[in-house]
Symmetry: none
Subunit: 244 residues, 4 copies
DNA sequence: AATGAATGAGAATTCATTCAT
DNA sequence: TATGAATGAATTCTCATTCAT
């Protein structure tokens, strides 16, 4: 996995496009509108004081979004519900996010950032492929432990936006899968893993298994520690299953 | 796993309940609407002749729904699109299905019926737990091979309806997972499988892995035979991984 | 004036464009959406019976729109007000018109059609350029006499949609102005009109004068016969003013 | 024309009235809003120093408004766009103008002031009614020559606010029309103009013609000198047309 | 059974205006 | 005076569903 392939594809690409349509049109058209005032997404006020306030508000909105999205799903969630849960006015949300969909993007992005950072920083410390695979499994589930709502958002809600899945999230998933596949390949090269299994199939299977565990956990009782136990056992199964 | 736990819980159970539906539903359903006229769900035409004719139309609608849902996702699909694809009038759909969501239900139900029938009829023929597990894996992926659209509907689109996931599909998934778990339990009892793995965790992992494979296949190039190869390799990995 | 320059530029050009965006997007985007059901604008049901019903509804909406637009102006008019005045549901309006703006288009178009038809059919009957000029003046004001609301819509409300003015109406105005200018040119050629006046300036002046009269009439007391008298007097002034 | 009939009717008269405003206004104005803080309209800074500074800013805003209004139209123009073009903060605009609409008022008022001043000061110097009429024509177009944006604002944008047209501008237009009509009356009294034309109709026709010329010029290529030429020719036509 | 015109509730988003700093 | 982040009312248009034919 090359770092570049993991680097976040900026979803902001479309932003700030001048929008050649007559201004009047812009007035009556809805999405993909670049609003001048907060054109650069999260405002970055100069003073630390101001930044804290703004950051607070953005965070409050994100936290509220996780909660409400997890409860109702993406489509059933009204922006006004998120606003209310965050204690801000409806319009305020649009000072920090371009659209309801971007709220979902942001939740996902933040999480995937952590995953990628981990892989960049922690994996190299592991001695061999099996250790790295176990570390990935621990991490993927560990990142969700204690964050049931977010787990649900990542495993369930995210898929509710077809556009998000196909345009935005898919590349990230693929990058992540590639990273896992790369571990398998390394293991096969060193003889740690059996040769008769396609790294890509194995990677997808592992990811799917983890995702399924997280899904069940999120939709079910979400007991403390359950994910950790599951991670350990799955790692055991996969490592033995992949042994030569 | 008792057979009864696998029997399809009639989805109608929840219907008619005043409004315990998730907000999602309330949002898109007309409130205070008399549903009386179509209260009895699928029409039950009297003569065999009529039934056949009706069945044709119902099937055409279902087939069209698979196609359009897979292409656009559940929420982005307009009932009128399905009607057009099926070559019927918008209103006709409501003679066969109570709502757009029921269309999705029905697709899922039909498929899960096949899975459950298989389990009831074929699994007992297998000699032991490992064979049964391999059979399940073959079957789950085999059922999707060649039906890419349906695979996408089952693995992706289904999750787009929060209500469907939580209220309707979850019990079926659980029944299915229980069936897999039961195989693990049996294997552990006979010493075919290791003891230090929770049957439920293993079952969820296996299901998730299969689901993940199907998802990637459906969203990707969906090559012929790919699912069969994947099934074989995953079965190898899991069987070795679960061996004592 | 060539006939072709007067022929109505079909505003429907944009209609029916497949709209390459993902369907999901279409769902959340507003304008310029081709809705399948009434894709061809006014529905044209087969039977005379049905046609009458549909025609009625479209007409009722147009009549209501003239009234409400004239009273409130374009921007201040809510689509729901028009619907209410027409005695139809809000959504029904969108079965007959793509947008609120198209309602305005349609009012204008219907009127300009009459003007153009008149010019094609009646002007050639007039013996010479002065008679034709007088006929045009009579007609332009005559078409508004007794239709105060429509006069206001054409002279005032139309200008409230910048886009309409610039993109849609301007070409029609220009065609009409060209037609008047052509009369002047002819008169100059036959020696009926003075040579030292630019036909285009004269044409614009004449149109502006008529428009100004109509505007004052529409915004004022709109007395019966006033436009006719004004037409006669203005014709007198312009014809003498243009005489060699 | 009596001076009093031309004196600017204070637009503030209508303000504060509970809500006799056209629906248009109610639609875009926040209801039940206390306007107290800016109740006194244009601020009246104490020291000459401050006034100059304020004047600068007020002017910058007005200049920016002309530009942006002309480009986008009234409704499609966002206050924030004007603020940006003027190089001030959004809120600053409200220190100098009560509302977005008042910006438009002010542009119009400033211009009409010039017209009225001209009429008071220059017309009496003219020897007779025909000379005065020609002077008026020269002036009305002359005032716009070189100020294409302002011409567009006066001839097009102004009409985009129904309320402005009906409540505010109409009296000014009427006063101006009365002034022209008075010239006609005088000419008829001295035998310089024909008797068989209503002074009011003639006045409205003349104004409309000038307005139409300006409109075409503003929306079109706006060539230097074009308005001057047009003024001369129109004056020729009208003077000959009105001759006895 | 079939049709498809009509319905109308619903929600994301915008932007004029305010007001704490 | 000036700022610009925050507000929140308001409205177009969509589309699942109904029902008269």
């Amino acid at each position: 996995m090359s770092e570049s392939s993991l680097s976040l594809r900026r979803r902001r690409t479309a932003r700030g496009t001048p929008d050649a349509r007559a201004p009047e049109e812009r007035a009556t058209t809805r999405p993909a509108t670049a609003r001048g005032r907060v054109a650069n997404g999260n405002p970055r006020p100069e003073s630390a004081d101001k930044r804290r306030r703004s950051g607070d508000k953005r965070d409050r909105i994100l936290k509220a979004a996780v909660k409400v999205f997890a409860k109702n799903g993406f489509h059933a969630t009204r922006v006004s519900e998120v606003a209310k849960a965050a204690g801000v006015a409806d319009g305020t949300i649009y000072l920090y996010f371009e659209s309801k969909e971007e709220l979902l993007f942001s939740l996902f992005e933040e999480r995937i950032d952590k995953l990628l950072t981990f892989m960049r920083e922690e994996l190299p410390k592991q001695p061999d492929a099996p250790a790295r695979l176990r570390a990935v499994i621990d991490m993927q589930l560990g990142l969700l432990e204690g964050e049931r709502d977010l787990a649900e958002v990542i495993t369930v809600i995210l898929r509710q936006s077809t556009r998000l899945m196909k345009e935005y999230a898919a590349p990230h998933f693929n990058a992540y899968l590639d990273a896992i596949a790369k571990i398998i390949v390394e293991g096969q090269a060193t003889g740690a893993f059996r040769q008769d299994v396609s790294p890509h199939i194995a990677a997808r299977g592992i990811f799917g298994a983890l995702d399924g565990i997280a899904l069940t956990w999120a939709l079910g009782r979400a007991e403390q520690g359950a994910l950790g136990r599951a991670a350990g056992q799955l790692a055991d199964v996969f490592l033995r299953g992949l042994a030569p």
